[in-house]
Subunit: 163 residues, 2 copies
DNA sequence: CGAACGGTTAGCATCACACGAACTAACGTC
DNA sequence: GACGTTAGTTCGTGTGATGCTAACCGTTCG
């Protein structure tokens, strides 16, 4: 049983990998049209998981000084992708937030294969779609259980939608 | 029927989006540790779909001159991420190839949520895994049909494994 | 009040990219 | 073979982003 299960897991992961390969490198990806540097992208990614993070903490994640980070954030703010606010309890602290435009551009970059994938979904018969829905629902349940075990934050919309 | 199907498609896509959100912004992503600029990353992405592409075509995709591209490729070659070869029929033409190291780093960047995803798969019961396998197989079939219709190249390992 | 802290600014250096110009090798046509 | 065109590389120049240290200012805390 375990051997069969391992083979099954492997088959699933291999198939997934292949699909991902097909989608991941879509050259219509937003990354080709957006004007972001790597450090800017890294900050945006960090803000997705830690919106409102203080600058000091960002410097630790990025491994740069406050002076450098200040410049990076300046330029993100100038692009409209991030905003700065003062901490409520300590006015020295600047909290850096992802702006709606920043979130949007990041979503577009990360959703690189979405359009192609939607084309594929439209080709599936209803039975397969229902199966996929079941699987995804169980995966989301597993994700929530996993997150609980890891003590990891779950995005609000994920959590509120479970009920 | 169509209304039901549309609702089903929407549910599937929404669930997928949620899962993707969970995985996409993992800050252990290789992107935080690799020393690549955006233009270099773009070239690597392009090479994944068009390995051995002539320089001239790369300039069109990137929207830069040959002089600029030459520098970018120089640095990718220096990093060990790409190689240059001469075209077999026209010795003026340089074909740019993704190196194994280049492919590896790109795979690591794109597979940002892979470890977390494997943890989730291990939580699924066999029935769900079998359903997932069926779905993925059908998705791959759809992908191949889609690619044929679009006249798009399929990576060799995808094609050879269908038989 | 003074020391410590968080963030910003200025100055400087480096790197990558971007372009046009110049150059060389290669190709195709006459 | 001569010639015009093409593909790519190199060079020089300029720009922007990043990276650091030092100085500065406002804020916090003992």
């Amino acid at each position: 049983m375990t051997i069969h299960r391992n083979a099954l897991l492997l088959r699933v992961m291999t198939a997934e990998q292949r699909l991902r390969t097909l989608f991941a490198y879509d050259r219509t990806n937003r990354i080709f049209s957006v004007n972001l540097t790597m450090q800017q992208l890294k900050v945006l990614i960090l803000l997705t998981r830690h919106d409102g993070i203080p600058s000091q903490e960002l410097t630790r994640h990025l491994g740069v000084t406050l002076a450098t980070l200040s410049g990076i954030v300046d330029r993100l703010v100038a692009h409209g992708y991030a905003t700065r606010t003062e901490d409520l309890h300590d006015r020295r602290i600047r909290r850096i937030h992802l702006s709606p435009a920043g979130r949007e551009v990041l979503t577009e970059i990360m959703d690189s294969g979405n359009r192609a994938q939607q084309r594929l979904l439209a080709r599936l018969d209803d039975e397969t779609l229902l199966m996929l829905e079941t699987v995804l629902t169980r995966l989301l349940d597993a994700a929530r259980a996993d997150a609980l075990e890891q003590g990891v934050d779950i995005p609000d919309d994920l959590e509120s939608h479970s009920h």
